[in-house]
């Protein structure tokens, strides 16, 4: 499965979806679930953190925390991937961020994107799940 930026953001927000997202990420961290994200989607989180005044140390802690995840693979996006993702923008009407996620789902044959973003719901070849669907 693919983890979208908003799942990490929900953990940082610690609001309505914070607890479910936290439990889900712990499953990935322990290796109970195998998941992928991209450097681009992690950069989204950093961009938001910086915009809301978080320090270099908080950003470093977020990034370093990812090294501890047994079940997480960070897919490094290349320019070729980004160009291919624009085909999904055209075919599915998604924005660029979501198209990159959908592209990786397709390329790696993951089938599921974990996200609170309902924009994925119109894409017939992937299934969107939220952490509440996945945690016991």
């Amino acid at each position: 499965m693919f983890i979208d930026s908003n799942i990490f953001l929900e953990v940082e927000l610690a609001q309505e979806h914070g607890e479910a997202s936290r439990k889900f990420l712990k499953m990935v961290q322990k290796g109970e679930v195998r998941a992928y994200t991209t450097d681009f989607h992690l950069d989204n989180v950093v961009t938001v953190m910086e915009n809301y005044g978080k320090s270099w140390r908080d950003i470093a802690v977020f990034l370093a925390s990812l090294l501890h995840y047994r079940g997480l693979t960070i897919y490094p996006l290349l320019i070729y991937d980004k160009i291919k993702a624009t085909e999904i923008m055209k075919e599915e009407g998604l924005d660029f961020d979501d198209s990159l996620a959908a592209y990786v789902v397709k390329k790696l044959n993951l089938k599921v994107v974990v996200s609170y973003d309902s924009d994925f719901d119109g894409v017939s070849w992937l299934e969107r799940k939220v952490p509440e669907d996945l945690v016991p």
Partner: protein, 94 residues
């Protein structure tokens, strides 16, 4: 010389064996040479990074609530990131 026994997925094992042998020959020791290089690179990269923040007791709890002062949803913030990037690009163009 130390010895480490590890378990990896079938796919990684297959590709690792194939590449190690193609690079370092089909004789004895090719897998060890490739593994030593892989381990050394991982150790060097992780050691360097850990000098910045050290070890985290719980990597998920370490980030929990970092943005609790922000009263928006994760999806709203993710969409905001796109606008922030666009603003930065605009600023660079001016």
């Amino acid at each position: 010389m130390g010895s480490i026994k590890v378990n990896v997925s079938d796919d990684v094992e297959k590709r690792f064996r194939m590449l190690a042998m193609r690079l370092f020959g089909y004789g004895k020791g090719a897998l060890s040479v490739a593994a030593e290089k892989a381990f050394s690179e991982w150790v060097a990269r992780v050691s360097e990074v850990l000098e910045v923040v050290g070890f985290l007791d719980d990597p998920v709890d370490a980030i929990y609530g970092m943005l609790s002062h922000v009263k928006k949803s994760g999806v709203e913030l993710q969409h905001e990131a796109r606008k922030i990037r666009a603003r930065k690009v605009e600023g660079e163009c001016l």
